[in-house]
């Protein structure tokens, strides 16, 4: 079945290193997305028409453009248009953060809009000042709504990093292809074992995170 290839030399180790590359890119992008997303989300809650209009356009671009297309634009387009020579990793982090920030900002906006006015009024009538209202009432509720959704964003980010092989980053899929090519003669069935393993590796990276997000969502429902 071609699983034996993985035990030869350091093939399995190389595959895991490939997973590491994918995880690194997604974690950096997630951190950038969360920070920028929270800032933009709070700005949106101010309901300034100009900010809202600009963000709507930005969100719509992210909503309808495939990440692959964005990757191509940033990786191939900037070289030609701006004379910049971005590394493939930098290009993918820019694209994934651009996408993640929009998603995150929309989540923050939704969570803020979802807090009923009565919560603010209730805090004021209890004699809290603005800082206390946010510190003890609003922010804890928002965090409970946000955490499961942000965790979900991490799994989506990890899944999307599989695209970076298309602009030449050597991550787990590319390593898999290299292993198959190198062992074409000695084990012609390597493709099955290698790709089944890659499938499983992605599943093992994402599934526990999805489960955690589902669990927290249920736990904090009210």
């Amino acid at each position: 079945m071609g699983f034996d290839v993985l035990l030869k030399g350091n093939n399995m180790m190389r595959l895991l290193e490939g997973v590491g590359v994918a995880l690194k890119i997604s974690l950096i992008s997630v951190v950038i997305s969360i920070v920028l997303g929270v800032v933009i989300g709070v700005l949106l809650a101010l309901k300034r028409p100009v900010i809202t209009a600009v963000f709507r356009a930005y969100l719509e671009i992210v909503r309808i453009m495939p990440q692959m297309v964005l990757l191509f634009i940033v990786y191939f387009g900037t070289t030609k248009a701006l004379g910049l020579n971005l590394s493939a990793e930098a290009a993918s982090i820019i694209v994934f953060s651009f996408w993640g920030t929009a998603e995150m900002a929309d989540l923050v906006r939704g969570a803020l809009a979802g807090i009923p006015v009565i919560q603010y009024e209730g805090s004021v009538s209890l004699g809290m000042n603005t800082f206390q209202t946010y510190r003890y009432v609003i922010v804890p509720q928002i965090i409970r709504r946000m955490i499961p959704l942000s965790i979900n964003l991490i799994t989506r980010m990890i899944k999307t990093t599989s695209l970076v092989m298309m602009i030449g980053i050597v991550e787990v899929l590319k390593v898999g292809q290299q292993i198959i090519e190198a062992n074409r003669k000695s084990s012609p069935d390597a493709a099955f074992g290698v790709f089944a393993t890659v499938f499983l590796l992605y599943f093992l990276a994402c599934w526990p995170i999805s489960m955690l997000s589902k669990y927290l969502e249920k736990k904090w429902e009210n």
Binding site: I73, K159, Y202
Partner: protein, 219 residues
């Protein structure tokens, strides 16, 4: 931007566009069928099948389409299952989408209050009638936002088809950039064709979401 180049590339892009749209919508149709079936099986807790459906949903929701396509296109032939690239693309998209649609339908069905099915039974409907004329239409209208989001997501995912050498929009753009180095024109057309493909769906989708609030009538 050189318009002569754009004119020259146009037929290539149109051909690729038709292929992308065709496989995309076949995959989406497939994902709706798989999604409804899996959601049905999970909601009514059909023995054995519901467990299989659950494993399927978790497996395909937690892996990227690109990896699924590589598995279907490169790995399955090694155990004797060989399909054309087009079939693989549609099947991969259908399986990925099915797992997302199943979750959408299932949460739609769970959101229907028990009084609906009880009333249906009290009116003398048999189980099949209860499902086809009460539960399914209500679940469908509740799942419209999820379905719309999934359709847009799946149409965007078609962009990875080029990895299994389907001559889709991405493939054409990459090919032209590699051959003639007209990067600006090739990328511009790529973006335009994706806008043509997705903007109408996005707009019709938001319209449908507003229209399909039948199940929440009276709230």
């Amino acid at each position: 931007m050189d318009f002569a180049v754009i004119q020259e590339y146009m037929p290539l892009y149109i051909e690729a566009f038709i292929l992308t749209v065709k496989i995309g919508w076949i995959g989406i149709a497939l994902s709706l069928v798989i999604g409804v079936a899996a959601a049905f099986v999970m909601h009514f807790k059909v023995p054995v099948l519901s467990r299989i459906a659950k494993i399927y949903v978790e497996l395909f929701r937690n892996t990227p389409l690109l990896v699924q396509l590589f598995f279907i296109y490169f790995a399955l032939p090694k155990i004797g299952i060989q399909m054309s690239a087009e079939t693989c693309g549609a099947l991969g998209l259908g399986l990925l989408g099915g797992s997302y649609m199943a979750e959408g339908f299932r949460s739609g069905m769970e959101a229907i209050p028990a009084s609906q099915s009880e009333s249906a039974l009290a009116l003398g409907m048999v189980k099949r009638q209860m499902f086809t004329s009460v539960i399914f239409p209500e679940a469908l209208s509740l799942s419209v936002p999820a379905i719309v989001a999934n359709v847009i997501f799946l149409l965007k995912e078609t962009s990875v088809f080029s990895a299994i050498s389907l001559m889709d929009l991405m493939f054409t753009a990459k090919d032209l950039i590699g051959l003639y180095y007209n990067t600006t024109e090739a990328l511009f057309m790529l973006v335009m064709f994706y806008i043509v493909m997705l903007l109408p769906v996005s707009l019709i989708g938001s319209y449908l979401e507003k229209k399909a609030r039948l199940a929440t009538f009276g709230e």
